[in-house]
């Protein structure tokens, strides 16, 4: 099972090809990729860039747990979750989730489950840099 999971936190640009190649499987007919990208605005304010910080040991453990849940709940065959660390410019990829399943329905469901879980429980933090200052998301006074 472990051989079918690829979890990484990377300072370099994330690679869609790396994730796709990892999860490609001869028994699977449905592949779903979710890509979270950095947008140039949030809540009416103009965003210049983001900074991602992680508690790497715990984040990798939680991401692996989420991938295993995708396998147990949705029969996912292979799961890749790559997350950015450090500075991310507008349009950069913040996260890639790639999942292969026998059929498409489970692939869509597993992908949505994985990103929802990642956003709610993986210890990674996003600092938003605006024209007039910077703020940790979800921690603004």
């Amino acid at each position: 099972m472990e051989l079918n999971i690829d979890i990484q936190i990377l300072k370099n640009q994330l690679s869609i090809d790396d994730c796709y190649e990892f999860i490609l499987d001869e028994t699977c007919g449905g592949i779903c990729l979710f890509i979270g990208t950095v947008r140039n605005h949030n809540k009416g304010e103009s965003v210049k860039f983001l900074d991602f910080e992680s508690y790497a040991e715990m984040a990798l453990k939680e991401m692996r747990q989420i991938a295993q849940e995708c396998q147990s709940k949705f029969k996912a065959k292979k799961v890749a979750i790559h997350h950015k660390e450090g500075k991310a410019d507008i349009k950069d990829k913040a996260v890639i989730i790639a999942i292969s399943c026998i059929h498409r329905k489970e692939a869509f469901e597993a992908c949505e489950y994985a990103i929802d879980q990642l956003k709610s429980r993986v210890p990674i933090w996003k600092k938003e840099h605006l024209a007039d200052g910077s703020y940790w998301i979800n921690s603004r006074p």
């Binding site: 979270g36 991602f52 910080e53 992680s54 508690y55 040991e57 715990m58 984040a59 453990k61 997350h83 913040a94 996260v95 990103i115 990642l118 956003k119 709610s120 429980r121 993986v122 210890p123 990674i124 933090w125 996003k126 600092k127 940790w136 998301i137 979800n138 921690s139 603004r140 006074p141």
Partner: protein, 78 residues
């Protein structure tokens, strides 16, 4: 004991590793009470959790010097 600090917690305590000399903190709840007392800014920002050995801990969990402790502000990855 030492606490790893991330995100807004790092800004509040002005360090990525907070050393606490207080000897009689035996539970996560007592640790939180200590933090709230010494760093009242925490309450202005957000709720936070404590991770013990890479897992989120409840207030009644026992802690020791051997544990890896971290302050976990609201996460915002993805």
């Amino acid at each position: 004991m030492k606490l790893k600090c991330f995100g807004v917690a790092k800004d509040i305590v002005d360090s990525s590793l907070l050393t606490i000399e207080e000897q009689d903190l035996t539970t996560v709840g007592e640790l939180k009470a200590y933090l709230n007392k010494h760093y009242p800014t925490f309450s202005q920002y957000a709720t936070y959790q404590i991770a013990v050995n890479h897992s989120i801990a409840s207030d009644d969990q026992i802690i020791s010097q051997m544990d890896e402790l971290a302050i976990i502000p609201p996460v915002s990855g993805g």
